[in-house]
Amino acid sequence: MPFDLNFVIRNLPIFGNGLVVTVELSLLAIFFAMVWGLVVAFGRIARSRLPRTLASAYIELVRDTPVLVQMYFIYFGFAMAGFGLSGFMSGLLALSLQNGGYVAEIYRAGIESISVRQIEGGKALGMSPWDVMSLVVLPQALVRVIPPLANQLIVLIKDTSLVSAIAVADLTQTGKLLTERTAASYEVFLTVAVFYLAMTGIVSGLSRLAERQFAIYH
């Protein structure tokens, strides 16, 4: 099968439209997942029992069900309930909620990996608990979680392709429609795959860069 490069170049604006949607969705979902994950992680390591139980239950719930089913639940459920969310918003919500659960566990592992002596040292200097957390524990923990966090964000970017199932014109959906219109399936899917590879490649490249940049504690 010869690869028709002209076809790809001709349709680059169409691919571009889909790519923009996928990038937007990925960036927003990454942002919300990282922030929400921190909230859940704090619940998970809280001293009182209620937030701990809630956070654990939440993490199990979002991690043990497929993100596609979560998207359907939000997309079709809210539409039927009368305040429909757009496909984009439903996808963003599902991706943020699920990956927030994964990211929370990554943060928790990072925070718990910080030696107790660091915390005691902070307290001995007269820091408040908040200062110990924000100035001593978190900066070190965040450096340690860079590699697993990058892994999870790559999974997130790949999972954005699922919003094509709830009528969002992302990169995958664009590719699918283009295939159905032109029958140039080989070219289309290779191009789409290359775009995804580029996006995930950027994330892993950035994570390696960040790891080297912040590796001052060792």
């Binding site: 099968m1 199990e60 719930l61 991690r63 043990d64 069900t65 497929p66 993100v67 596609l68 089913v69 979560q70 359907y72 639940f73 079709f76 459920g77 539409a79 039927m80 309930a81 790559i154 790949k158 999972d159 954005t160 392709s161 699922l162 094509s164 199932a165 995958t172 590719g175 699918k176 295939t179 399936s185 080989y186 899917f189 789409v192 795959a193 995804y196 590879l197 995930t200 490649g201």
Partner: protein, 216 residues
């Protein structure tokens, strides 16, 4: 409040769950075989084979499963190979998750201390025997918890084949929603069935992990 739509459709969903289990079991089997072969090639293969393995891992890490499923659905027919969705789904998921499985097995093989290899070699074992009675028995035990975890991810991923038109749990859920117009109930039920499958595996994985701690 009694979720009547869910109760009415639950037997239908369970039939979908059967297909999901079948698909998962077959994909796990295939991905385990692929993963083992790839892991061995990755650890013991010569340079060009190792590079080929790295490329395979890189592609799987960077390309969404859904794209590969679409490729199977739209591209393969042009080459004359026409797979039914179930076979195609098993094949694509098996090969895709084979990469993750290979990482699990490779990490387990590499985590054995050097002294084990040295000891086996000093006893005059050939490589095959060494793998058979020294490396594999220990590596399998180390690989068990992450293996179970990967199975869990695989089960969740089988929901994607509903997008290319295979009738399984997620698709059964969508059909039930179209009939009953009760999306919250039905999809909560679908999620519950997936949750039961995955949570039991997660629980088993944690049990294996705990049991391993006693060994060491």
């Amino acid at each position: 409040m009694i979720p009547q739509a869910l109760i009415r459709n639950f037997p239908y969903l369970l039939r979908g769950a059967e297909i999901t289990l079948l698909l998962s079991a077959a994909s796990v089997a295939l991905s385990t075989i692929v993963g083992m072969i790839v892991a061995l090639l990755h650890v013991f293969g010569v340079a060009p084979i190792r590079i080929a393995v790295e490329i395979y891992l890189y592609l799987v890490r960077g390309v969404p499963l859904l794209i590969l499923l679409f490729a199977m659905y739209y591209v393969l027919p042009y080459t004359g190979i026409d797979l039914d969705p179930l076979t195609g789904g098993i094949l694509v998921i098996g090969v895709y998750y084979g990469a993750f499985m290979s990482q699990v097995f490779r990490a387990a093989i590499l985590s054995l201390p050097q002294s084990q290899w040295d000891a086996a070699r000093s006893l005059g074992m050939r490589r095959l025997l060494m793998l058979q009675i020294v490396v594999f028995p220990q590596a399998f035990r180390i690989a068990a918890p992450p293996f179970v975890n990967t199975c869990m991810m695989l089960i969740k991923s089988t929901s994607l084949v509903s997008i290319i038109g295979l009738w399984e749990l997620t698709m059964a859920g969508r059909e039930a929603v179209e009939r009953s117009l009760a999306p919250f109930q039905i999809f909560a039920g679908v999620a519950l069935i997936y949750f039961c499958m995955c949570y039991s595996l997660a629980w088993y994985g944690r049990y294996l992990e705990k049991r391993m701690q006693y060994v060491h």
